[in-house]
Structure formats: C-alpha cells, structure tokens
C-alpha cells in the first residue's frame, strides 16, 4: 500500500513541483485554447503567444524562488 502511495505521489510529482507554477502553465494553455477557438483568427501570432506565456511563467517562477528565503 505504501509503495502504491509512493508511486501515485511520484506520478503527480512528474508534472507538479510547484503548484502555482503548474497551475499557471495549465491556465495559459486553457487561455490559448479559448482565444484560438473563440477570438483570434488563424495567424502565426497565436503560436508565438503560446510560447511567450510559458517562457514568461518560467522566468517569473525561477526568479520568485531565487528571491525566497532559504
């Protein structure tokens, strides 16, 4: 049972280290999905925006962690 719990925890841990970081990425994907299907006409800007979000989230999250008390 303990092994099963450990495996499940590790399985979630594959994708989530920092809950805020993971939530921001998922939120960005959902936003990109909504924008691309409802608002934006097909154009290369949608793809460029899709990259810009996770890039900015990564930068903000690492800087926030580096500035946090250790």
């Amino acid at each position: 049972m303990d092994t099963l719990k450990t495996i499940l925890r590790e399985l979630v841990g594959l994708f989530v280290d920092d809950v805020g970081f993971a939530a921001a990425i998922v939120g960005w994907i959902i936003l990109a999905w909504l924008l691309s299907s409802l608002v934006l006409p097909p154009s290369p800007w949608g793809a460029i925006l899709l990259f810009a979000g996770p890039g900015a989230i990564l930068l903000e999250s690492t800087l926030r962690r580096a500035g946090a008390p250790r």
Partner: protein
C-alpha cells in the same frame, strides 16, 4: 515500416537524453542494493519492475493511437510542457545555486548505509533488497514510459524511433554500470536535465499548438525555434536567479 529519421532524430535524441538521466538515477540505487544485499535480489527486483513497465507500455501505447491525433497532441503536449518546464525550472535553480545539485555519489552512500541497517533477510528471498530495486526501477521507469509514450504519440511514426532512443539509453547506462561498477557521478546530470527540459518544453509547446490547430510559422521547423527560445529563456534565468539569490530574500511589503 520505414522511419523518416530526418524528422524523427530530434525526438529520438530527446528520449535518449531524458531516459539516460532516469536510468543513471536508478542505476545508483540498484548498484547499492547489489553491493550490499547481493546481485540476485537486485536483479530480481529490477527485472520484475521492467516487466510491469513493459506491460504498461504495451497497454497504453496502442490505446493512445486510437484517439484522434489532435486530442492526443493537446493533452500529451500539455503534460509534456508541464514535465519539461518542471525539469528546466529545477535545472535553472540548481545551476544558479538556489537548490543543491543532485549528487549520485552521495545518493549511493546514503542508500548503502540505509540497506546495511535494514537487517539480514529472513528467508531465501531478500524482500528488502527486491523491494528497493523494484521501487526505484518502477519510479524512474515510469518517467521513461511517460517520456516514450508522450514524445512517441505526439506525431505520426515517432513511437519506434523514440523507443529506440530510450532503449539505447538503457543499454548505454547498463554497459557503463557493468564496466565501472560504481554510480555514474561523472555524468553532467544538471546539464542533461537542462537540455532535456528545453527539448521537452519545445515539443510540448509545439504539440499543444498542433492540438489547438494553430498555424506554426515554418511548420515543423518551429520546433527548432521553440528549442532556441526556451534555451535563451533558461540561459537568461540562470544569472538573474544567481544575482537575486546572492542579494538575499526579497522583502515583502504588506
């Protein structure tokens, strides 16, 4: 079936590097089990986990190919993006000295110490040793399975080259382990994790875009652009984090 290696080699390389990192971590613990509790138990636990992992791949691999490609790309791409950015974030923080580097030699010493205090086996089977080898192979192997399935199902005809990449990593790590008989602490693990994080984040972003039916400028060549983009963001983040960490904790005004 013929493989278009011109398109498949970046994914095979990503699978090779990512799997190699996981196998190196598993090898450290399996070596510790073998050295302290005996090789029969270490290899039995490892083999049992490999059989379970193979069954998982055989079960989920064909199932995923039945789902429409756009849906798979959106879900798997999203998971790959989470997975790759998690690795990249950790590698950036380690490179900047914010969190300590992973040390295989220290992990080996810790594992051998803990196995020595576990007491002798009660019967002909050493349950502690088998469970330890099984657990580490399952945990690291599950990550490899995810990488193979995620990267392999994101595009048409990628599963075989990706599986070949992961199998080559397994063979390389096992061969090095057999020759050296000690943890592979000389492998630049953080650099590998940084590179793999960049590659997986690039593939994840591309497949999410494909799943959303976005128009990528340059088609498949966008993957190269995304790789360079994430590489630049990661490379920029390291010195910025180092400077921020050395300046001390941020003062939060309320």
């Amino acid at each position: 079936m013929t493989i278009d290696w011109m398109h498949a080699w970046p994914t095979a390389l990503a699978a090779f590097l990512a799997s190699a990192v996981e196998f190196v971590e598993a090898l450290t613990v399996v070596l510790a089990v073998g050295a302290v509790r005996g090789w029969r138990s270490a290899l039995t636990g490892t083999a049992a986990a490999l059989v379970v992992l193979l069954a998982v791949v055989l079960l989920f691999g064909p199932l995923l190919t039945r789902i429409p490609l756009e849906d798979v790309q959106l879900v798997v791409g999203g998971l790959l993006l989470l997975f790759g950015l998690r690795w990249l974030r950790k590698a950036v923080l380690r490179a900047a000295g914010v969190i300590p580097l992973h040390d295989e030699a220290a992990a080996y010493a810790r594992e051998t110490g803990s196995l020595r205090t576990a007491g002798p086996p009660s019967g002909s089977w050493d349950a502690v040793a088998i469970a330890t080898a099984f657990k580490i192979t399952m945990l690291e192997g599950l990550e490899v399975v995810f990488i193979v399935v995620a990267v392999g199902t994101g595009g048409v005809g990628l599963l075989v080259p990706v599986a070949i990449g992961a199998a080559a990593a397994l063979l390389a790590v096992v061969a090095l382990g057999l020759v050296l008989h000690r943890p592979l602490s000389m492998v630049p693990e953080n650099t590998l994790k940084f590179s793999v994080g960049v590659l997986l984040a690039a593939f994840g972003t591309f497949w999410v875009g494909e799943g959303l039916l976005l128009a990528w400028p340059g088609g498949d060549w966008s993957i190269l652009g995304l790789t360079i983009g994430y590489l630049l963001v990661g490379a920029l983040a390291v010195p910025l984090c180092r400077r921020r960490a050395s300046a001390g904790p941020t003062l939060i005004l309320r």
